[in-house]
Symmetry: C2
Subunit: 310 residues, 2 copies
């Protein structure tokens, strides 16, 4: 299968989507933009993530299908972190030349699995093979959900920090198989104004600190309230399950700031089916990151998963 | 320089653009969509190209700056081929770990050079280093120019095929240093309705044949009228300069279909400063690709530059 046959195969196996005015096969895709509200087009969300063999996955261990799934999932998670809805995905790949055909089809099926689950058309991309290892780059467009795009800079002193689900030990499997929290982020917006939001990719402390930096605030994390995953307890290394929950990356849960009264209500009513909301901290005017444990408060470093850069 | 420092450097050296509502540094960029016309948002153009060391360039020979320039240029060329204007670019890179810092800055400067020349904000991306070779993936958003997006499927029997500039031998340098024909495509739309357009990346015959396939037509190319570049004459191999002009890839000139009366006027008036328009063929109802040379017509294969896939 050459490039043109592969593109033909993708075109044939791609359903028609009403908002994709021109799909794969021309110089550009043509997409219907976000709906017009009050005379203005809705803001367009754009995110892009590149996954590299040996850095973000080990192809020989996980196979191309799970790589494709993850490549789509991490981008959906970024749209979720803005409170948005996905609009169209663009997928570029560099395939190892020795096994391009099998990888290409499996990778595409993994991407499609999650794209279909989130009603996201794959509207274009670029397919290459080369002498290097597998690289997948997905760019995802989205539009706002029920609120304006939810940034990292909107937290206020006194706001509660809540997280979805449980944290830590994602390396045991969740980093590949997680569900991006698109639906949950939309449900939350119908419950309360979300002041700031991020998805937990670098680790709870590191990502919470991103909100602090952008909002010009500090945060007190409450050790006893951090939801520790079952996987964190199975890590069996020198670090405690709590440390894993606080610093492991790639859980792709949501961390978000809401007014304290909204936070209290959300934790009490637990409005999201099957996903627990936990109150893990309180934003404060004093800059820095603090951990409250056994009734004592101490400053901590916002360290988390280090990206393999430089 | 780690990932966060690099992102900070990019943020600091990125000017504010009115249509980039949120730039690098949040979960997604937020872009103001195409203007509303007649109650509807204008269509959104999206293109993406991935460049890989050893396939699309040889880093050791050309250096990261020219790679960055080319990565932006090929995407701008795709927007030009739709008759569009660029809106915002997203740049993802996998940097070879042994030399990530120097490459990153030079690459970014090469990208910025062309982005600035075409008033295109770099609104986001993803930066990684890995054990593999350099990979750069750019996704470019755009909006329509003076006409609706110009597709490949609008050529009509009797239309003339015109090309900008001269063709062949781009491997001697133009494939790295070409100017994407954004301005020219906009000027052309003010001169005449463009029925179909493509940029010449696979080679004249291959790309012209893409228009034929999508429009359900055939094409007669006139050998004597194909504009042969000076570089094609310097190739010095078994193929003639005409063969180079017909089949070499990566000239990134425009090939477009217009009504015969418009074509004749464009060739006569040469309305584009410094860029010659040449009449290279006529679309016909009979499918296939034909070459007319010394008053005889014979069918030819639409072969061109083969993408290094499978």
């Amino acid at each position: 299968m050459g490039e043109f046959e592969y593109i033909r195969w993708i075109r044939q196996s791609t359903p028609a989507w009403p908002r994709v005015l021109v799909g794969p096969g021309d110089d550009c895709a043509v997409i219907e933009p976000p709906a017009v509200v009050g005379g203005k087009g809705g803001p367009l969300l754009v995110t892009t993530d590149m996954l590299l063999d040996g850095s973000h996955f080990v192809l020989a261990e996980v196979g191309p299908r799970r790589v494709g799934r993850k490549a789509m999932a991490v981008n959906l998670s970024d749209i979720a972190a803005m409170g948005g809805r996905p609009l169209a995905a663009f997928v570029s790949v560099g395939l190892p030349r020795n096994n391009a055909n099998a990888s290409a089809a499996e990778l595409y099926l993994g991407i499609r699995e999650l794209a279909d689950a989130f009603s996201t058309p794959i509207a274009g991309g670029d397919t290459n093979s080369w002498t290097g290892e597998l690289v997948v780059s997905v760019t995802l467009l989205g539009e706002a959900g029920f609120q304006a795009p939810i940034l990292r800079n909107g937290a206020k002193p006194g706001d509660w920090l809540l997280v979805t689900g449980t944290l830590g030990g994602s390396i045991l499997g969740k980093h590949l198989d997680f569900t991006p929290r698109i639906a949950e982020a939309l449900q939350l917006q119908q419950q309360a104004p979300i002041h700031a939001m991020i998805d937990i990719s670098d680790g709870l402390t590191a990502d919470a600190y991103h909100i602090c930096e952008e909002s010009g605030l500090g945060l007190v994390l409450c050790a006893e309230q951090i939801p520790i995953s079952e996987a964190a307890g199975r890590m069996n290394d020198a670090r405690t399950p709590l440390e894993h929950a606080m610093t492991d990356g790639e859980d792709f849960e949501l961390a978000f700031a809401v007014a304290p009264e909204d936070g209290a209500r959300l934790v009490r009513t637990q409005p999201i089916d099957g996903i627990m909301l936990a109150h893990v901290g309180v934003f404060v005017g004093e800059k820095g990151l603090f951990l409250e444990q056994a009734r004592t408060r101490r400053p901590i470093e916002p360290r988390g998963y280090k990206h393999p850069f430089a």
